[in-house]
Each structure stands twice: as C-alpha cells, then as structure tokens.
C-alpha cells in the first residue's frame, strides 16, 4: 500500500510538470490552431534562465526567497522569448497555410536546441538546490511512504499557477478577449480586440508556465541540458491531446494521467514483464490510442470545430 501511494506521489509529481507545459500547448492551439513544437524548448530555456539568474546573483544557498526570485525571473525571461518567437517566426507566416506554421515551429525548435548546444555545450549542468533536498530526509507519511520538500513545493506552486491561469482566462478582460479570439479570430478583430496583442500575451503566459515547470523540476532533478525539452515537451503534448487539445482543465488532467501512467509502468511493469525502459513508449502508445478511440480527448468537445 505504501509503495502504491509512493508511486502515485511520484507520478503526480512528474504529471504536475507535464501539466504546466501542456497548458502552453493547449492555449496556443486554442487560439491559433497551431501545435507550437518549440514549446518544449521554451521549457528548457526557462530552466537555463533560472540557472543563469541564480549564477549571476550568486544564489545557491537553500532558501525559499532564492527559489522565488529565480522562478519569477525565469518566467519573465521565458515570456519574452515566447513573444519573440511568436512575433518573428509565427506572425509573418500566419497568413499562409497551417502546414507552413507547423514547419516553422519545428524549425524554431531545432534552432533553439542547436543554438544552446553550440553556445553552452550538451553536458548536463547542475541547478542550485534551493530546498536542501540533497541533505534533508523527506517527510514521513505512513509505512515507507514519504514526500520530499521539493515534491510539496512542485505541487503547491503548480496548483497555484493553474488557479491563477483559470482566473485570468475566466475572470479578467484579457481573458474574455482570449476566449473571443479563440472562438473566432476575425470576429474578435471586428469587435475591436487587438488580436495581435492577445496572441502575443497567450504565448507569454504559456511560455512562463513552461519556465516555471523547468525551474520546479530542477528542484527535484538538478540535471539540466539543452536537449531536456525534447522528450518532456513531446510528452506534455501527448498530455494536451489526451485531455483534449484546446481545453485548459483537460491539459492539467492529461498531464497528471501521463505522469502517473509512466511511473506505474516503471514501478509495476517488471511484475508483468514490461521493462522500466518502456516508460516513454507508454506515453506515445496512449497518444495513438486516444487518436484512434477519442480524437477530441477526454474533456474536449465532440463538436467539430468550425473553421
């Protein structure tokens, strides 16, 4: 029982990170019908922004304040990066076919990865340990089950960010504008909404959530490198599809499910003859299954979108 609870904690912990990244995929898709394949790399940029902010400010000692500064700083940097990508890569080709934008997204993704490899090398770097998780024992729950400080912080911060996003989208004026743009871009424009600004803002919000995911995950796993966004980004994309792409609560649900699924494969797969190395295969098997059985995802609307 304690092992099961532990695996659930582990799984939801990874899942929370997937959810934060999946939100960015889903928001951009909701507004532009674009799969932003560079989003996983924005997650990586966020982690590195946090790393370099900590380095330049000399923050390394365990402290919540240090983590807070690094977290907010990296979210701002990633928001700017997201807006730059939108302004200079996607906006110029928005008027062409969706395929053009998709290919552009793949190009931007590869460009960011290779720029980072060329500039700072592919060797993993160690993110500062702000929560003292290297030396402190975890908090005991029952039996063998335990939860570490890093895991608690990851849960709390990601839930807080998700609630904040929900509030922005449903309770504020910009949120209303975002929903209007998502519903119909041209009508929104006719209603006097500055659609370019709203799209830019959507990229900023999605990117900052991914950066938060990057910094938070580095508290649990301090190993960061320029290619860290590829697989994590793809799995977050699967999470968004599983939840119903374009649907915000769906992205959160999808993230948590994918995280839990891959952890259970690792934890229990060996009992039924599935090696733990199948963890990545499982996420993509889920993608294929969802597309075959329920293409609109768990929470996605079954109504065909009008384009």
């Amino acid at each position: 029982m304690d092992t099961f609870v532990q695996q659930l904690i582990n799984g939801l912990n990874i899942g929370a990170i997937y959810a934060l990244i999946a939100l960015g995929y889903t928001m951009v898709y909701g507004i532009l019908r674009l799969i932003n394949f560079a989003h996983g790399d924005v997650y990586m940029v966020g982690a590195f922004a946090g790393y370099f902010i900590a380095l330049s400010l000399g923050l390394a000692a365990p402290s919540f304040l240090g983590l807070g500064i690094v977290l907010v700083g990296s979210m701002i940097v990633a928001a700017i990066v997201g807006m730059i990508i939108e302004r200079f890569a996607y906006r110029p080709v928005r008027k062409y076919s969706r395929m053009t934008t998709l290919i552009m997204a793949i190009g931007v993704s590869l460009l960011i990865e290779n720029l980072f490899v060329a500039r700072i090398g592919a060797a993993p770097r160690a993110f500062p340990d702000f929560l003292g998780s290297q030396s402190q024992p975890p908090i005991h729950l029952f039996g063998n089950a335990a939860i570490s400080k890093a895991q608690i912080v990851i849960f709390l911060v990601s839930v807080a960010l998700m609630l904040l996003l929900q509030w922005i989208v449903f309770k504020t004026k910009v949120g209303t504008a975002m929903r209007a743009v998502s519903f119909n871009l041209n009508s929104a424009k006719l209603m006097g909404i500055n659609t370019d600004a709203i799209i830019s803002l959507t990229f900023a919000i999605g990117s900052s959530l991914a950066a938060a995911g990057g910094v938070l995950t580095a508290q649990y796993n301090p190993n960061i490198d320029p290619l860290m966004g590829i697989l994590t980004g793809l799995k977050a994309f699967v999470a968004a599809v599983l939840g119903g792409i374009g649907n915000i609560p769906g992205a959160v649900l999808g993230g948590l499910l994918i995280g839990a699924a891959e952890t259970f494969v690792v934890g229990y797969g060996s009992n039924i003859g599935i090696a733990s190395t199948y963890r990545d295969a499982v996420a993509f098997a889920i993608l294929i299954l969802v597309l075959l059985v329920r293409p609109s995802g768990l929470l996605g609307s079954t109504v065909q979108e009008k384009v």
Partner: protein, 414 residues
C-alpha cells in the same frame, strides 16, 4: 561546353591534390618524422568531463615525452577530434583521423559504446588503438590492434560484489543500471554473477536510459524490496540525480558504483546526498607513492584541478604507447602492435601495467568512499591469481601487480 571543361579541370585538380596528400601521409610512417597520434573523445557531449580529463592526461604525457627529447629523436604530435559522445560520430572521426590525418596510433575512447564503434575502423586500417578506460570486455575482442590500459568489467563488477559481501556484509542487493550502455549492462551482469556466487541475493533489478530525469519509480520499487546496498553502474550525469532522489525517498542503503561516477560534476549534481556511497576505481589521488604524488602535483600545476582516474589513464595510455614505439624502434603498424602487446610491468600512475594475451591490462582496483566532495581511499582489491585473492584484505603488499595502498582514512566512523 566551356562549363564541362571547367568542371573536368576542377575534378582533375581535386584528384591530384588528393593523390599528393596520400603520398605525403605515406612518408611519415616508419622511423623518421613526427609520431602522429590521434586522440578522440567526448569534448562537448553528455560525458564531456571524461573526454576532457583524458585529453588533459594524454597531452601532459606527450609534452613530457617531447620535452625529454622525444622518442628516438622523434616528437609526438597529437591530433584531437571531438566525437560528442556518440558512437556513430566516434566511428566517423576515427575514419577521418586514419584516412586524412594518417595517424600512426589512436588513443580513445572512454565510454565502451564509443570505443566499440570506432575499434573496427582502426582494426581494418591496421592502426594500433589503445583505449585508456573502456572497461567492457568486447572492446579488445574487436581485433589484434585494439588494446587497453585499464582493467575490465568482469573484474570491476567482481570488486564491488566482493566489497559488498565481505566488507559491508551485505546479503541483499538491488541493481539500477543503464539499459542502453554496454558499460553499465556489463557491470550489472558481472556484479550479479559474482554477488550471487558469494551467497548474496539480488532482490530487485531496475533499469533506466541515459538522459532520463526521473528515477523515483525505479527507486520506490527498489525501496519496497528492502536491499542493504544498491548497485548503480552508470555515468555521473544520471548517478548524481539518482543519489539525490534516493535521499528524497528516504532510502538509507548506500549506493555502489564504478569508475563512471568519477567526475567533478558528480558533486554538483548530487551534493551531500552522495556521502557514504562507494565506487570502484583505477587509482586514488590519496595514494602516497612518490610517482603518483608527482603526477598529481604536476597535473594540478598545469590544469588547476586534481586529476581524476580518467586523466591518469589518459596519461598512462600515452606513456605506454611511447614506451612501445621506443622498444619497436618504428611506428610501422605490425611492429608497433607487437611492442604494445609485449608491455610488461610498465610503471604507470594507475599501477604496474602488463598487457595480457587478450590485450587487456591486469591490475588491481581501489574502492573509494564518497565523503564531502572527495573520493576517500577505502581498500584495494587485487585480481584473482595476482595478489591475495581474498577481497577483505585491505592491504596487499609485496605483490608485483599491487602497489602498497595507503593506510590512512580507513574509515574510523562509518
């Protein structure tokens, strides 16, 4: 018509220049001219600490030889290539070193998977290759031109199995290994075989792949099997994180590893969570023998950091090659190959090096304890048949193959 003519002209020039280069390369072999040695390693990839340390060691040894007048009056010239830690790139750069740079001998790689990809190219071209630190047995089985100056995985796995069973008195071990690494899989199998033959039990076997970031699933499964030691024969990038997450799950059993842990970055990733873990390695910087201390001091003076085992093995591989060229009197490939194979009791910083009939070095291993950013000497374990075969003997003096280990730091408090 004109265009065809120009194209033809260009092609001809190309052929002539290629032919010239070929001839120029050909004359440098034999007994005169510089000794051109190719070094290939990971200088920018995920295991770049390995490649950089080895490169430092190789260059320092080459400079020492050159300053002392070279070998038979010939200077050593090192040509370095970065393979980014990827097997297919290792094969490519080695092909380039052989065909374009006309190297007379090759040094590299550290990771066994990369050496295995490059070795067939060296064998095919009959260019002797010495791997400083690839420990997977298959590497030298590629052919009679492939050598190494380190011990091999069956021995390294056995060392840790003996250490767990005899020194730590462990009966239950769990294993977490890297599924895609020849090195890690080899160590996993040899540890398992040796530990079970010593009466121990493997209670859980889990795997991961290089680049994984979350190990909590595997570690939770291991925790529920309640092992006394956990063998993690991986590379430092993942191991640092594994150690960290082990701590966060409240697991108290020590982690045991191999020489793949030995990198300064390990401490940045794992920090205090690494305290109390053990690794097997090729040498210890604490060893008081004057030859080792001189090497450590020279290296520190030159690079500003302490030499890890890979730097020491890089240094030894260059010195063994230099010694073989000297004895052969030529860099002609078959003669050089024979001379490397006849290396006997060569005094390297990682111990006396003798190349056996399988082109592997026979030498003892040390076990080091991880403590506050340092690898502290714990014990020496000699190969079967060499010194005392009993693993628990923390001192194996007097043997030809084992230099007396330092007696300090024999852990007063565990």
């Amino acid at each position: 018509m004109k265009r065809t003519l120009i194209a033809l002209l260009l092609l001809t020039t190309l052929f002539i220049s290629l032919a010239c280069e070929r001839r120029a390369g050909g004359t440098s072999g034999g007994t005169s001219g510089p000794i051109v040695v190719g070094y290939y390693g990971d200088l920018s990839g995920r295991t770049s600490s390995f490649g950089q340390s080895t490169k430092n060691g190789v260059e320092m040894a080459a400079d020492e030889i050159n300053k002392a007048g070279g070998i038979n009056g010939r200077q050593i010239q090192i040509i370095t290539e970065d393979d980014q830690g990827e097997p297919n790139k290792a094969a490519t750069v080695v092909t380039k070193l052989i065909n374009q740079d006309k190297v007379q001998a090759l040094l590299g790689e550290v990771a066994s998977s990369n050496s295995l990809a490059a070795a067939p190219k060296a064998q095919e071209a009959k260019v002797p290759m010495i791997s400083p630190s690839s420990t997977n047995p298959a590497v030298t089985q590629v052919g009679d031109y492939i050598f190494r100056v380190c011990f091999i995985d069956p021995f390294q796995g056995e060392v840790m199995a003996k250490f767990s069973a005899n020194n730590l008195k462990a009966k239950r071990a769990a294993i977490l290994y890297d599924f895609n690494s020849d090195y890690s899989r080899g160590l996993y199998q040899f540890f398992k075989r040796s530990f079970t033959s010593l009466g121990g039990q493997i209670v859980s076997e889990q795997s991961y792949t290089q680049g994984d970031r979350d190990f909590s699933g595997q570690l939770t499964a291991i925790r529920s099997a309640n092992p006394e030691v956990i063998y993690v024969p991986g590379y430092y990038g993942e191991v640092g994180v594994i150690s960290n997450q082990t701590k966060q799950l409240g697991i108290k059993a020590p982690l045991l590893g191999g020489d793949g842990w030995d990198a300064p970055q390990l401490w940045q990733l794992g920090g205090a969570s690494l305290n109390g873990n053990y690794i097997s390695n090729h040498y210890s910087v604490d060893d008081p023998s004057p030859a080792i201390q001189k090497f450590v001091a020279d290296y520190k003076g030159r690079y500003g950091i302490l030499p890890d085992a890979l730097a020491a093995l890089g240094y030894d591989s260059m010195k063994v090659l230099g010694d073989a060229v000297k004895r052969a009197g030529t860099t002609e490939s078959a003669k050089l190959r024979d001379a490397i194979g006849q290396t006997k009791n060569f005094p390297g910083v990682t111990g006396l090096i003798t190349i056996d009939q399988n082109r592997n070095a026979v030498k003892p291993a040390v076990v080091l304890k991880l403590q506050n950013g340092k690898f502290v000497y714990e014990t020496t374990i000699a190969p079967e048949g060499a010194a005392g075969t009993s693993a628990s003997s923390s001192a194996a003096p007097g043997s030809a193959a084992a230099p007396p280990p330092p007696t300090k730091a024999s852990s007063p408090a565990q």
